[in-house]
Amino acid sequence: MSSLILKRSFNRSLLLSQNPCTETLLVPSLFSSLSELQVKSLHSSGLRNFPSLDQNYKFLLSGFSSFLLKTVERPSRSHFRVSKRYLSSRWRERYRVLTSRICALQRNNSAFSSVLPSSVTLPCESNKDQLHSRRFRMFSTKAAVELSTSHGLTVDRIVANNWTILDESESDWKSHAAAISQSIQVIKKRLQWKKLKLRLDLLSAELNKPDLWGDPVHAGKISREHGSLMAKMKQVTAFEQELLEHIDMIKLAREEDDTELESESLNALLRMRRNSKEKELQALLAGEQDSCSCYMEVQAGAGGTESMDWAKMVMQMYKLWAQRQGYKVTVVDEMPGEIAGIKRATIKVDGEYAFGYAKAEVGVHRLVRISPFDSAKRRHTSFAAVAVIPILGDGSTHVQINESDLRIERFRAGGAGGQHVNTTESAVRIVHIPTGITATCQNERSQHMNKASAMAVLQSRLDRLEMARQAQMNAQHTHSLTEISWGNQIRTYVLHPYRMVKDLRTNYEVSDPDTVLGGAIDGFILSYLSASVDKDEDYQ
């Protein structure tokens, strides 16, 4: 019983604690290192770069070992089965002390998936000064261990149990747990969990190479990707772990008849359940560039003024959408049609996840209506193509552009120029000679700024080209951008003879084109994103 009490106090501190310790992740291989021998072998492999931390590490291990010894007394599938003879009184004492201090220590085989490497942080309270600041990292590559409750419940088993999911207002832990577990499965699927783990293994192996930093650019790239994948994985694992802990707590509370604890835990589950839908959504935007700002480009198809008018409507739809999202919209380049509409235009959409959402719009948009430009009032079909380019952040590697590869031209320049001419037109076009890619900007008020904007567009176009090239080379990242061809129709907008907007990829359909053209395209975006991410694929 004393162990239960210890456990409980530990869990409470976990529930209540908001300090960084709760995020602590433990190196799983530590758990298997119950003998000094194993510790040594670990030392000699993973930790050779951190000699100064050895002492700290040993202390930690000894604490854990004892802790584990305690927990494995309970029947479990743990492969960390250890004989009781290790359980000396000295260890018991340690256990008591440590569990009360270590904030986020997992019970059972607790199992931090080994791909999670990581930083081990030590006790928060009394040993803070010496220990809290000491962290060390290593990158482990061992296979993951499934998280479970003390009774062996896992997320998958919970889902398999098919517990009825009741309304949120029903205080039924099983219902909450089932709903949350389902979400976790969706999230994992969306993150391509299995692939993610493989990729992390690969990156970890890479990071552990002693000569890694010989090529700092490569090393930086690897460690950045590792960091960002890790963060994604950590989030989900922490969420999963939290769920299992609350379930444990509820069982414990029942055993002990502690109604206060039970309702506390139940509430925590409810909060998690409410949170989980948002997390599902976030998981849709887990792509490497999803969080970037972007450029959106619209180009009118064949068909003259009618198509140019349509292109303008599409562009307007995106401007309004972006504004509703709270993004900052700037027109970079706009080529007006002779009579109405636009031939082509580029806007910059600034804000978090702009690219992640906007990428769902790439392709050809088709309009059917009675043309206001046709005096005979006939029905016309027009097309507009949409392209979306991510603006890579400062952290990512950009294509290096050589000044000498550029030709910069003044747009619509005529006459003698210089002092002869007063004009507010200072547009420039930049041509990247080796690729023939060009970029134009005419909406800034100085030539210098037009040039800077055009350069930024050019940079993104070249980055995209490079990404597409790498995607082809690298089978791991087959998320290549579909180049738009006029055959690639994604959505139809019908204004006549009936009214409807239908996405041809998802069959998502709305009967009010006006609101859609007014920027209400979230439904289309989300349904497309979920359809493209939630492929029927084994996620584990």
Binding site: P336, G414, V421, N422, T423, T424, E425, S446
Partner: protein
């Protein structure tokens, strides 16, 4: 051809008065140069006027129609702006006049009674836009500023509106300054600084020890340049001096690390055929370069020899290929061996626009 340049600047002083005497500047004429107070650009004025969105809408509608009525008639007349360009200027005028830019996208919406805060009265906006279209008053004088490089410079009648081509002078300086500490920390001169554009552009790329002296003969230019220098908080780095070309620089003879200038270079005979915005509104003193247009360029290139220190750098803007070639020849023939790495650089329209070079450090 080889007129004495001092004679020629004296000869042109009357044109300074001519330009100042135009009604629009008459108030500044009565003031002494030191107390000349530059006008504040529209976008910096306080938003003390208000109107309703529907009134603003009415104005906008009117202004747009006026702009559209121009079509391409100005283009045919004297290569002036077409209505597309004028419509863009109209949007910028709105941007500069409105306290809240987001209103621009709401023009034409239903929210008619909404109060709108303006930096100029609606009546003034009517007057200004009429001046733009009917008198061809340059847009930059209307809003009192010119966006140039990453700067927003105050401009007004009596001061040349800096040209996009001239931005490149700063880039050329940037290139040479990049790999020379001496140039980066040296003393530079911008002769005929006008609004102060080049001087400020250079002041922002030099290291903190670097200095720029900006000179101009026009009191309005001196006042406006001083104002712009203050606005960019560069008064410790840039000194504005009044006087003709090198005259106010006697104390730094032979000490300059760099000399840049965009002097008047339009041949006198061409002035009458200039685009209305230029010929009828910008100061003749800033444009007229004498019969061939090269009076000031030749004077400056001669002066550069004694003013620059060995290894010093210069950039001059010219009227195009003919003047560039002539200047290069002139430098080689008139001061043989004094210059080195003399180069012609084209602008983004592909017109040979600048002559650059160094003072040979061996011949001193």
């Amino acid at each position: 051809m080889k007129l004495s340049s001092s004679a020629c600047s004296i000869a042109r002083i009357p044109s300074l008065f001519a330009s100042l005497c135009r009604p629009i500047c008459s108030t500044s004429l009565s003031l002494s140069p030191s107390s000349l107070k530059p006008t504040t650009p529209l976008f910096l004025r306080p938003p003390t006027f208000s109107t309703s969105l529907s009134e603003l809408n009415k104005w906008h509608h009117w202004a747009k129609n006026l702009a559209s009525s121009v079509g391409s008639s100005f283009v045919h007349l004297d290569n002036g702006p077409d209505s597309t360009l004028l419509c863009r200027e109209l949007r910028w005028l709105l941007e500069d006049s409105l306290e809240d830019h987001s209103l621009i996208s709401q023009l034409g919406s239903q929210n008619y009674h909404m109060d709108v805060r303006l930096r100029a009265s609606l009546d003034e906006l009517y007057v200004l836009w009429r001046q733009r279209i009917e008198e061809r008053r340059p847009f930059q004088y209307i809003v009192g500023c010119e966006h140039w490089r990453d700067l927003v410079l105050s401009v007004q009648e009596g001061v040349l509106i800096p040209r996009p081509e001239t931005e490149l002078i700063v880039d050329l300086v940037k290139d040479v300054v990049l790999d020379s500490r001496e140039l980066k920390e040296g003393l530079w001169a911008d002769l005929g600084t006008g609004s102060g554009a080049i001087a400020i552009g250079i002041g922002r790329i030099l290291w903190s020890q670097g200095r720029v002296i900006a000179t101009d003969l026009s009191p309005v230019a001196v006042a406006v340049a001083t104002y712009n220098v203050l606005r960019y908080d560069l008064k410790d780095m840039i000194e504005v001096r009044k006087g003709s070309w090198f005259e106010p620089l006697k104390d730094v003879e032979g000490k300059l690390a760099g000399v840049v200038s965009n002097p008047p270079y339009i041949p006198s005979d061409d002035i009458s055929r200039l685009q209305a915005e230029v010929g009828q509104h910008e100061p003749r003193l800033a444009l007229d370069g004498g019969v061939s247009g090269m009076d000031d360029l030749l004077h400056l290139s001669n002066g550069a020899v004694s003013m620059l220190k060995p290894g010093g750098f210069f950039v001059f803007e010219t009227n195009g290929e003919k003047q560039c070639q002539f200047l290069v020849d002139y430098m080689e023939n008139n001061n043989p061996g004094k210059f080195c790495n003399v180069n012609i650089v084209s602008d983004f329209a592909g017109i040979q626009r600048f002559v650059t070079g160094f003072i040979n450090d061996k011949c001193h």
